[in-house]
């Protein structure tokens, strides 16, 4: 185990949604390279409490890249420098002694800041509420093996279902668009046989809910590069194609396949 010394942190502090925020500088004199990035912040918070100051507020829960709660812009990059890695999985060994590290919350109009580094991502929930499900009332579901799902299809659904709803794609996008998230949610259900009945209705409703809250996609591709689950840009293509079809005149025919 090695130690990193003399890190200069510039951390965004903001008391509430409607107050002006500012950067605060903290020196971390020593931290183990085995510590995770959030553990480094824990240690800083312990020190702040020791100095009778308010701890820095940030979102986190599972701390293993599964829940999508953690959300930090680190040196201008959503979830920091490491590819396919959430903030909570990022370890200090990725940094070096003496580094300056700028820590900000997700910056996007659709994710208002709650306090310090914590943002409100309920705009994502509203997209899912508009259609990100299969209508399957409890009870009476047919035997799961009655509808065979080809392995490549279930694998493709799983690739999209891996999205953890963290919002890095939106934070990384110059337009604050949510196309990668919405595309992932649509692609997960729209490729499965079980999702066909509501396929086009789903695409239409979710894209509309997205457009009401988020910016427009201009194909920068920053989203996929920032995504900790490496969701592919293909999901956006699938979403767009299903959305277009949902608008076509003979949409009633579409659900017949």
């Amino acid at each position: 185990m090695k130690h990193l010394t003399n890190l200069k942190l510039k951390v965004w502090r903001q008391d509430g949604p409607d107050v002006v925020g500012k950067f605060e500088t903290h020196i971390v004199e020593s931290v183990s390279d085995e510590a995770s990035f959030l553990e480094m912040l824990d240690q800083l918070n312990e020190r702040l409490i020791g100095e009778n100051k308010d701890a820095i507020v940030f979102d986190h829960d599972c701390r293993e890249g599964i829940c999508g709660t953690c959300s930090l812009m680190i040196n201008g990059r959503a979830h920091g420098p490491q590819r396919a890695t959430t903030t909570c999985q990022l370890h200090m060994r990725t940094f070096s002694s003496g580094d300056e590290i700028v820590i900000e919350p997700w910056r996007a109009a659709a994710f208002p800041i709650i306090k310090d580094l914590m943002v409100d991502r309920s705009s994502f929930d509203r997209i899912v509420e508009s259609g990100g499900f299969i209508t399957a009332l409890t009870g009476g579901a047919p035997d799961a093996n009655l509808i065979p799902v080809p392995k490549p299809v279930s694998d493709a659904a799983m690739d999209s279902a891996a999205c953890i709803g963290c919002g890095a794609c939106v934070a990384a996008c110059p337009n604050g668009a949510a196309n990668l998230f919405t595309g992932a949610k649509i692609a997960h259900l729209n490729v499965l046989p079980q999702g066909q009945a509501e396929r086009f209705k789903r695409a239409e409703a979710m894209v509309n809910a997205m457009d009401e809250q988020f910016g427009s996609c201009t194909n920068h591709g920053e989203c996929s590069a920032a995504c900790p689950k490496e969701i592919s840009l293909d999901v956006i293509a699938l979403m767009n194609s299903d959305f277009r079809k949902s608008k076509s005149k003979n949409r009633k025919q579409l659900s017949r396949g």
Partner: protein
Amino acid sequence: MHRLAQVSVDIIDQMVAQGVPFAREYGGMLDNRSFGGAQVSRTFYARGQTGQQLLLGAYQQLSRQIGLGGVRLFNRTELVDVVVVDGRCSGIVVRDLLTGEITSHAAHAVVMATGGYGNVFYLSTNAMNCNVTAAWRAHRRGAMFANPCYTQIHPTCIPQSDESQSKLTLMSESLRNDGRIWVPKNADDTRPADQIPEGERDYYLERLYPSYGNLAPRDISSRAAKRLVDKGHGVGPLKNGVNLDFSAAIDRLGRDVVQERYGNLFQMYERIAGEDPYSTPMRIYPATHYTMGGLWVDYELATTIPGLYAAGEANFSDHGANRLGASALMQGLADGYFVLPYTIGNELAPMLNKNIPTTDHPAFVQAETEARERFNAYLNVSGTRSPDWFHRELGKIIWDYCGMERTQQGLEKALSELPALYSEFKKDLRVTGTGESVNQTLEKAGRVDDFFQLGMLMCRDALDREESCGAHFRSEYQTGDGEALRDDKNFCHVSAYNWTGDPMAAELNKEKLEFETAHLATRSYK
């Protein structure tokens, strides 16, 4: 158990219908694999993230109801008390985590699905926000808390790397399907794993439990690892882990197959440990993972407060003294989808058209006042130590004396140290900030307070149970070859506790266990 087995059949069907992408074989049928404590492949899975996918499936169904206006969701809101009027659960008191505001909700019935209490150990595989507050506050209002000392230690977690560690990461048990567990035979062997010849490796699970081998149940595998590490055979910089080696599987199946099965777990390991498990064995060590104890419930999942129900890990049902792999999700889904919808109606039907107490009832007003005072009190101690500091100290005591192996002496020590530390907590706590906006330090203080009280009950329960059974291992009660020794004559019962006002002096009720169809036996994993 019988009911769980029956309804579990419907769970996969229901989840697949909802779009959960369970793994399929090439023919399109569902695939399955084996898990700890089972010798046959019977577990359905969604890559290495079954729990996450089931959660997303349930979340999508909930979202649908929210979209339809049938359900209202209160995000970032914490239950801080339960309100009982005339012996019935009449609602809850909550704290808005964004504004600190304390308000109430009146209800005909309340369901708690608030998870387990593994974080009492400070380090566990559970999410950081997992806590016992909801269940504990219900307990304090009259709900019995059962078998608190039954806590499961999971054998395959990444070992702690330093003091600052905030949580431990589970490496899915499914890895034990293809990974072989070993330590160097020579405790002083410091060579890298790949330079230690076969003959100098101790594949101890295969040696001790030939029929289950690397898939021996969790408690057995955990204790075996602890013994070898305690004897100095541990691997890694702190010598606090054992090897989980995939080289044989990679030779047999090829790297591609191994990657397909465990790719995301390998990647997760590499992120945390900074080592590549395709070329170096993983290092693993046991960690707290699941709590079998919880709120006592009857067959209808009702607690001892009429109108209050507990589902999932928050209740004590179904798993006895130890839980087998994959059954937590099964139980949670069964409780929520197939049990409660049928049983809660029995409670609700007679209440049709009857008035229930509203939130201006004195019991609500009083509970709200108490909650406000409680949170103000944390802010006003103005001591010197943070809630996290106390949590870490508490966790050390519980882990050392009420963890994988327990002794009378150790538990008595814990029961003398805990009240002392708890009174320190009340005198020397420091919470900075205010109670009127997001304050995670304050939230933590409330949770640590409840963990202290629970910790005392856990140790008392572990001391009282003078036998070893399942995950509860008392060193005094073991067979000649180190296996758990049960005492069915004196301890074949559930220990359910009533709150008396003093966590050190809870009232014990014994519920006799009766076995009608399957009879009590000792399972051998050899």
